[in-house]
Amino acid sequence: MKTGALITMLSRGPIAADPGSTERRLAAATALGALVIAAVGLVVLGPRPDLASAAGRPGFWLKLAFPALLALAAFVASCRLARPGARLGAAGWALAAPFVVVATLALIALAGASSGGEAWSLVRGRSALGCFAAIVLLALPGFAATHVAMRSLAPTRLRAAGAVAGLLAGAVAAAVYAFHCDEMAVPFVAVWYVLGMAVPTAAGAWLGPRLLRW
């Protein structure tokens, strides 16, 4: 086929395109994923029984704000990486900032511990593996939704795009889990929430070149 004929063919008929469709498709996928994750979290785990009194304490809000801000940053980063040649820009800093803040607060809490045993108990809490596993499993429907959306778009850095789409799912899962989780120590969040979100992120980076190819 001659390239001129292809140009004639492509330029015929309705060709208008909506430049906002990248954001809309990712937003719809994130909303759908969040809805499923919230429903599963509500039915399988349920909110902590003392949610009303916990909502008066800053530890609860920190635990919620950390993944929520990460989800927001991962969403913006996903929108950028879903377009050819677009740069991460400020979204890269927005992704790093919540980790830096939580890591700093965790180190301050650990420095205030009177003994190594107390510091370890701040990290370990009572539900470490349950928290980690719950975030990983809750993230699955979100992972599927964000990757289906990303696959329909045009990422050219497939590992990075897969990673942020995975982090988006993991962060939403962690935010939902925060309503169930009754741990209040920052070092716990800094270790187990982060490890839980790291699994879908790493899975996205690993599978990206296969799942997102177009």
Binding site: T3, I7, T22, A154
Partner: protein, 184 residues
Amino acid sequence: MSTPDEPGLRALLVLALAGDNAAYAEFLGHVGDRLRGYFRRRAAAFPDDVEDLVQEAMLALHNQRHSYRSDEPVTAWIYAIARYKLVDLLRSRAARPALLPLDDDNEDAAFMACPAPQVFEARRDLVALVAALPDRFRLPIAGVKIEGLSVAETAQRTGMSESAVKIGIHRGLKELARRVRGGA
């Protein structure tokens, strides 16, 4: 045809995305020249693949035209798609994409230089690939894109609704790109 610079290309694409068919044809013509120059240099080991790559990248660019943001440089956008398709080809040939300068920002300048226009023909025949698509894709593409009928005329002739014709074109060209990739 003179070669427009970045603002000229961007103006054409913005018009095209608003539905201007003539602007889009002119834009794709310039894009073809640039893609050819790029693939001739970058895929020098596969000279027979150059025009196939040009057409594959052009089809990809068409299918993802909504991904262009008018505040980004259009050349960087085209180049990112071209490079992505090239790396994909080299990877599928089990060549060594590591030999490419993967993130060379100066690429854009070289990318603007283009060869003189001639008649360029690919080995792969996209029309034959369109003919092999299922009817819900083939009929709308044949009517609107190949014969140049309107959406309404194609709808009438095929008995499909107008929205089914539009969706058939859109999804059909995506399916075409998938088949090109799978069988290239």
